[in-house]
């Protein structure tokens, strides 16, 4: 059997996986009846529909011609997502300035053309701007520096 639309096949499998994840979470939520729905009613029906649509999509990909897979861009993707994760992890212990600095550092690896000097200048200016806007002007309760 030949896969005619790899894009749809992967999409369909992802939907089925999502449905499986949802089912694993529904656990003992009461289903109820159509006229007296329990907390599990909507999630169950929707998870089933997600799986069904995924299945149709996957099966269809074997019959109908469609798009090929595009390569995922990990070269840019990993540093970019990494930068967000680092910011989320460090904002509370380290404060706005250092967390943003780390964000710039990590995301620099996602840059199409890396220029360290430019990145440094830009990050200093932008962090200064962010502190001015959010902390000085808007008076938001952000930790600016590590505490103590």
């Amino acid at each position: 059997m030949r896969v005619r639309s790899p894009q749809d096949l992967v999409g369909g499998i992802a939907l089925i996986a999502l449905a499986a994840l949802a089912f694993s979470q529904i656990g003992d939520l009461r289903f109820g009846t159509a006229s007296r729905m329990g907390p599990g009613y909507f999630p169950t029906v929707l998870a089933a529909l997600t799986g069904l649509v995924g299945l149709v999509l996957a099966v269809r990909s074997l019959v109908l011609d469609g798009h090929g897979l595009e390569s995922l861009n990990l070269r840019h993707g990993l540093p970019l997502l990494g930068a967000i994760l680092v910011f989320g992890l460090t904002i509370r212990p380290l404060g706005l300035v250092l967390a943003s600095g780390l964000l710039f550092l990590v995301s620099a690896f996602a840059s199409p053309e890396l220029k360290w000097r430019e990145t440094l200048v830009a990050s200093v200016v932008l962090i200064g701007l962010a502190v001015l806007l959010f902390v000085v002007l808007l008076d938001l309760p952000f930790p600016v520096w590590p505490r103590m």
Partner: protein, 324 residues
């Protein structure tokens, strides 16, 4: 978090003793955590109190909104914060009900906090859609008992003040009603005004405007005394339903282990805030007033949290609803 705990410990050791810290308190801004999003009734109370406390303490008291999971995320953060008085919590009645509503709570509302004092009691009102047949609370009770299958009771979600008051109301009448839950008071009031549901019990903060505007019918206020903004409305006790007494009380807490001297300073600032003319006036506009000075104390709040946890536990357990 661990970094800062270490830092505080090191700092305290360097200074030799904790009281030295307390004497200089506060030497930097204090963060008042509100475990709900900005703009809600609790947030309003917090901001009014924080503004006055800033003046008294000579350091800014910054309100930080840490919403989510019925207030337990913000409360949990304060419970685990450094016990130095720089992170405090303003929470309402949910502090006591969460002990039962959340079976997997990561902190103990009773023992993980150093209470500072009670702040205010917001009264609640029993209201109905404007063409509801009953004229007064007596008729209402009779009507509900006679037609339990017809009457619907709205609330603003599990654990909300309106939910608690509703449970109390049904218990007092010994009559289970169809409860219609909403997400928040706004949509619930919308459907009450639109006549889609029959009854609700909610805070004066939300109902006063609708009552005065004639959009809903009011039957009683749930506090021992009448409220100034609705002088014609009888109390539940006067109207013959003494069991339904509930107010949305607000308390101020520091993490457990906060030095007594710091708690005393914070409490003194709270007491000043509760006498502040602006605070009083704004509270009055919200249909509430500061608590009496005797109740704005650490002991009063500590005892009250215990009493309230015990009061609501059987009710919540009987209803069988949990938020976790």
């Amino acid at each position: 978090m661990r970094f800062s705990t270490l830092a505080v410990t090191a700092f305290a050791l360097a200074l030799g003793s904790a009281p030295a810290l307390a004497e200089n308190f506060p030497s930097r801004p204090v963060t008042m955590v509100v475990p709900f999003s900005a703009g809600g009734p609790t947030d309003t109370v917090a901001r009014l109190v924080a503004q006055s406390m800033s003046q008294t303490l000579g350091q800014q008291v910054i309100v930080e909104n840490v919403g989510g999971a019925g207030g337990t995320i913000g409360a949990g953060r304060v419970a685990k914060a450094d016990p130095d008085g720089y992170t405090i919590l303003l929470h309402h009645i949910g502090q006591a009900t969460s002990a039962t509503l959340y079976r997997k709570l990561a902190y103990d509302p009773k023992t993980d906090f150093a209470p500072i004092g009670l702040v205010t009691d917001v009264p609640m009102t029993i209201v109905a859609k404007k063409d509801f047949p009953a004229k007064d609370l007596k008729e209402l009770v009779a009507y509900v008992k006679a037609n339990p299958d017809k009457v619907t009771l709205a609330n603003a979600g599990v654990g909300a003040a309106s939910h608690l008051c509703g449970m109390l109301f049904m218990q007092a009448l010994q009559t289970p009603l169809t409860t219609v839950p909403y997400k928040g008071t706004g949509p619930a009031m919308n459907d009450l005004v639109g006549g889609q549901v029959d009854l609700m019990c909610d805070q004066t903060t939300n109902t006063t405007g609708q009552i005065k505007g004639g959009a809903v019918k009011a039957y009683a206020v749930t506090t021992p005394t009448r409220v100034a903004s609705l002088p014609d409305l009888p109390t539940t006790r006067e109207a013959g339903l003494p069991g339904v007494e509930v107010a949305v009380w607000h308390g101020l807490y520091a993490p457990k282990g906060t030095p007594d001297a710091v708690v005393t300073k914070l409490n003194a600032a709270l007491k000043v805030a509760l006498k502040d003319a602006t605070v009083k006036q704004r509270f009055a506009e919200l249909g509430t007033e500061p608590v009496a000075e005797a109740r704005a104390t650490p002991k009063a709040l500590g005892d009250f949290v215990g009493t309230e946890i015990d009061r609501w536990r059987p009710l919540i357990q009987a209803a069988g609803v949990y938020a976790d």
